[in-house]
Symmetry: D2
Subunit: 406 residues, 4 copies
């Protein structure tokens, strides 16, 4: 692998992105074992992935900060990383900081807008088409400057409010037209970034619950442009467990009466999700699963609350009330104490590797075999984690056999 | 289905068996939905199972009691069943009580022997071969008296102490010979019951961690006699969850550092397992799994403690300490509050249905596709619950297509 | 003790009241040990309490039902009581049912009004003063019919929405006047019941978070009438634990950063509290405590959610995030699985006994020594459970010595 | 306060002692708020405590290491402290390291002996009297070298195996004689250290479950020598919670049927307690409490298991099964995730302050008012945390009023 690959993160200085940067630098320097990386484990590990050393980080953010500062916050509030590690990744941080550009604030809602710094706010008046053009320019510059062979855009920006369902009724020509109208449709930034990416031939991964590429018009555009994409909303905690546990209740024909999930955490993502408009997007992404797996709708409750002292430590309590033989009610409870960004970042790197490989092999359109990575997997035929993971293994086997043939 | 099927339970008046009896009577009378029965859910539900009405219960026990008395204890101590239900199954109870014979006490260890009543103790001096002969006679009488077309023996007796590993080195002719020696080999009752079953053409399900049929000699005998069998140790609680959750940690390449499981419960099974000799058998059955699934051995701890006030409510607390990206340590904890006998009984009925169907179709030897039912599944190629369940579904599909062809 | 004591419950057919009735009948017949009764334990036990046999139940409710029906629901949904016990209390139930009158719906809010049956709805148009008069008549009839020596009114009715704070600025003459105005002040039913009670010389216990007697005007009236009263909101679950645990964090100088409490349950009380207006009253009652005990305000969160399958089983999960020496963050979590009505009912009986004793001894006004029973104890000088309990013991000792002197 | 105070720790380089050293240095330099220090909170805070700057650390240990090395292990395994803090306390560490002498191995059992380094092993053959003499010399040297006004010896060494109960039958003259016999009595090191301390006029705090001063002969000696002492076994986790929660169950007359506590942790203390001989001492110290508080003995279970990955993070799960009104069984569970050394160290500093103050004021014998600090408090009249804390407050008030008078 001597190809040069650009990893462009939207939300480039956020918790997940900062952890991606820290981890990538650590992996490049051999400072850390690839624990938590799905692609680092056999049988996937032997596919011809891009080398860590071939990746360069760039991105957009609306806040003005640095990797060093953001990593320091994670260390101080959540005791992740270590001062020693942060020293050793400082050089990479300084280089990558140079590649971060001012983000787009079109239709992001009040809460996100309130986070924006001076520079991004200076673009507040820009139209959707102007925003797309600006993003494209940033991407092209990045590509040229670093002589990239391939470019993957990953959305790890704050969760946007939910969008008008009517957006799903437009095809790409209609959408394009309505974007240029005097009163343009209210397409949120997550989709504008994706359009820009597609238009300049970049692949796209939507790691957030924001709508991003999850619209027919964008699927169409991806095919037209011959790029690959996948998403929606990285599956790292409670929902991961739901997709693992609920199939057991189904297989055993145990009747789930209620499934209550309370999530508390205290990072910036939590602060954004504390706004009901933004939270709705996340809750929706977390709540459809059980019905799909069980085949009926138990009473469910998903709460997400911002508790500052927890920092990046997402703590979830789930109470599952089920009924067994002869109407006997039983209960399972679990608590999950995971560090959100540390769970997410390796998956982002996995998805970049997978997407890059498929792009390299000339794939296009939606990647349907990465359902195990997402809460609301686009194009995936099954909601069960084990089956989703099986699909990934089967894809790997297929690719493996193709490479072996060559 | 007009065939008559005998369900012969060893440990016939125990908690699991009493719940099987209660549940079977309730199902026959349409008093309860088949919740908790795997075979009652599509796609399995449409296989041509034996009707509940075709089943008759018999068995061996070493204690002298009645279904009514045992069910009353479960109700009083654990608030399962309901007085109303118990009234309505009383007639079936009375009939089935008549079919329970005195059990065998050969090599069962002190703890189990201490439970035995007068009648069973009167056989204390019997030799292994005498025991086998007596069991056979009881089985033959049952078969004749109820004009049974098929007979399934299910071991739901107390967990025996672990056995001499040298027993696994004998083939059937050697074992047979050594059973008749003046100092016969120390084969425990669970295996004697199985031998008797096989010898009179009955199928066998070992729902306990006792060795039962899990010896090469007995596998050989099953093939010689053309009977089917399966086992070992019903998977109803913590171990079920391990086989569901551990694959997730493996798939995500999260390093499990330690997995601690504490189980507390207060039924008769718990009292028997409170003896270190008997507990060893159970802990062994619960503890091999993680290494198989993860591919390495994390520090594990499994404790099982008798806490009287809990009755049949098995409460388990598991603490899973794992390491993610960049060495970050995280934790998952769960508590499981399940009613043991109520979780086990429907699986016993499922296994009877499945075994009966295979016997009816002329199968012989080990059933390898029921791994999802057992903690230490004999002949099963995978330790993961989802894959095990997949094997069951594939078997069902195969059978379904065969039946449809006809 | 040969005095006859009336126990008049507002919310007479609710979960708590039905459990009070069941328990009182069981205690009268010696069917149950007095577990859960504070006054049944030494040193309190030897005070000259009213005998269980001296108590007669009556009350108001807005729904039309019977004790047998309500107890049956508790049994079926929550597996509390037992059919056997319910048979044995059936006669008392039938007698007491006769003493239940139609309740008052003045200013109770939409949610409660929606529960009302025909009879109570027929009084929908009544004015506050008419309501008071009707309640008084019901109380007087009860007193006469049963030749009662003393009458205790206990509010165990559904939680009302919060009230206008301006009500706390009125003295009794002003309130009385404004109650008779053409546009009368919006005093809720809980207070109207209390006024009626006071006016006919009955004592009052407010076991709910509804405002009831917690207004200066009503305190004034109690003194005028020479009756005793106490309240507010029985302390049976999470808040009890807060008042027990928070003092430990304070005493150890451990800094509580956040205390999150999630409560789920599925009884009628839960359904009423599912209305934001009613819930606000309860959350307020649960949330002031920590600041009082700790001396600073940690981030707190109290959620109460209606999860039908749980029935009367209130399940609470609390996550306490605290900071120790050298800034080290630690956590304590607890889950509480308590049966709400069964925790509440013995406290109601305790409070009736205590109130009756004080009334008998000629006390008047607020009882300040029963703070340990309440979430928002009126007139109590300390928020810590241990100190509150100490106050109760000191009162008991004082009374004991007085009785011994005699 | 210009007096110079020596804090001599037995087990000077252990986890608790290292945290005491780190914390003391941080407090002296004003690097940390005194969170977790009971004496730093009003009303105690205003007593005339020794200044942090007046304290000098010395001690005995059997291992050869340094504070820097031990603190580094705590940081690496358990993520407590921070590299930055460790830099800033390095100078104090270096000075205090000089004051640590080789420990005594008389009657410490196999497990502890296996930890000893070269230097301490060179004294393996020493007799009890020789050991006492050596300890005295070390203490005298320390006192002289640092011109100390007062000296407090604190036992924070590994938990010893339990001792022969007959030791409790000796008075001091008998013990002294039997210590010098050719076959001397088997008095463990914890007591030899205490004897040496008393003999040279130092006060003593026993923070461990080892027997230490908890023998009539030693109490006698303390009075003879006019020194103060207290102990036994710092109360920092599960037992603290038991002494806080059990009084609630008692006060509410709720019947505790069983109380199960499982403790897991992975520090050196855990490794020592993994030996059944040593564990017995700890379990005994943890298990007597409930019976004392409740007035009856529920079924109890206390397990302590060494789980390496947890490091200093003691994680406890407690399951409390209790019975309420009408025989209803309910449950409370809690998990405690505390960092053991960080919970213990401030209490050690509190006890040093309190002991020093009492010694300064000319006190002698057992301090009965510090029961809240200990699992098995010597001379304390109540097992309930709230009452124990009350005793501390009353003592503080008394002293305060004495100081104000002057
Ligand atoms: N385990 C996880 O952390 C996890 C799992 C699944 C999904 N996610 C999602 O990933 C996203 C990132 O999570 P996080 O914890 O890093 O959040 P974060 O708040 O730390 O980071 C988000 C970043 O996006 C930036 N941003 C917001 N709007 C932007 C815009 N329009 N253009 C450019 N930048 C913008 C913010 O300034 C911030 O730096 C969130 O949507 C979250 O819901 C996270
Ligand atoms: N969820 C579950 O309950 C579950 C799950 C997996 C396995 N198991 C196993 O199933 C078995 C039964 O569990 P249970 O809860 O019903 O236990 P139990 O103690 O209530 O019943 C066991 C019965 O076996 C009888 N018995 C003992 N030795 C016998 C012998 N030699 N011959 C005949 N009868 C004998 C006893 O008298 C008793 O009636 C145990 O081995 C248990 O470990 C149970
Ligand atoms: N552990 C506990 O159960 C507990 C603890 C503290 C406080 N409380 C409070 O006690 C009260 C009763 O709880 P519950 O579980 O019995 O609730 P519930 O809903 O079962 O019973 C309330 C009863 O009050 C009746 N009611 C409502 N408004 C009325 C009115 N204006 N006049 C007369 N009757 C009326 C309802 O019809 C119902 O029968 C609630 O306010 C609850 O918050 C309960
Ligand atoms: N929260 C807590 O940490 C806590 C609470 C209560 C009691 N304790 C007790 O405090 C003690 C110390 O705990 P820790 O976590 O620091 O243990 P640790 O194992 O880290 O430290 C014990 C130290 O004692 C030394 N030691 C052992 N025997 C000795 C001897 N005879 N003379 C001199 N030194 C000796 C060891 O070398 C070690 O350095 C233990 O007994 C523990 O049970 C601790
Ligand atoms: Na069982
Ligand atoms: Na209630």
């Amino acid at each position: 692998m001597a190809a040069r690959v650009g990893l462009w993160m939207v939300g480039a200085w956020g918790g997940v992105a900062t952890t991606v940067a820290t981890g990538l630098s650590a992996l490049r320097q051999g400072l850390s074992a690839p624990v938590g990386l799905v692609t680092a484990k056999e049988p996937l590990a032997s596919l011809p992935w891009a080398d860590w050393g071939d990746l360069t980080i760039g991105g957009h953010d609306i806040r003005e900060t640095t990797y060093a500062a953001e990593a320091q916050v994670l260390w101080e509030k959540s005791r992740v990383f270590s001062p020693d590690l942060l020293n050793r990744v400082a050089d990479d941080f300084a280089v990558w900081d140079q590649n971060i550009q001012s983000g787009v604030l079109v239709n992001v809602g009040d809460r996100i807008r309130s986070l924006a710094g001076e520079k991004s706010r200076s673009y507040l008046a820009e139209s959707p088409l102007q925003a797309i053009a600006r993003i494209r320019k940033d991407l092209e510059n990045f590509r040229e400057q670093h002589r990239l062979d391939r470019l993957i855009v990953v959305n790890v920006a704050s969760t946007e409010p939910t969008v008008d369902p009517a957006l799903a009724e437009l095809d790409w020509p209609q959408m394009q037209k309505r974007l240029g109208a005097t009163e343009p449709i209210k397409l949120p930034s997550s989709s504008l970034y994706a359009i820009a990416a597609f238009e300049c031939g970049a692949s796209h991964v939507n790691f957030t619950p924001s709508v991003g590429t999850d619209l027919p018009a964008l699927s169409e555009l991806a095919l037209i442009q011959g790029v690959v994409h996948c998403g929606r909303d990285g599956k790292t905690g409670e929902t991961l467990l739901k997709s693992v546990l609920a199939p057991m209740f189904a297989a055993r024909n145990l009747q789930v009466n209620s499934w209550v999930g309370h999530n508390i955490f205290g990072n910036l993502d939590g602060k954004v999700l504390d706004d009901p408009a933004n939270k709705a997007t996340k809750v929706k992404s977390k709540d459809h699963l059980l019905t799909e797996i069980l085949g009926y709708k138990p009473q469910t409750l998903v709460s997400i609350e911002y508790i500052e002292s927890l920092g990046d430590w997402k703590t979830a309590w789930d109470h599952i009330h089920f009924e067994g033989f002869l109407g006997t009610k039983m209960a399972m409870q679990f608590t999950w104490q995971g560090c959100d960004s540390l769970l997410a970042a390796p998956l982002v790197l996995d998805l970049v590797r997978i997407t890059e490989l498929e792009a390299r092999l000339g794939g296009k359109g939606l990647l349907p075999f990465v359902g195990s990575f997402f809460k609301s997997p686009m194009g995936c035929s099954t909601p069960e984690f084990a089956s989703q993971y099986q699909q990934l293994l089967e894809w790997a086997q297929l690719r493996q056999s193709q490479f072996e043939k060559k």
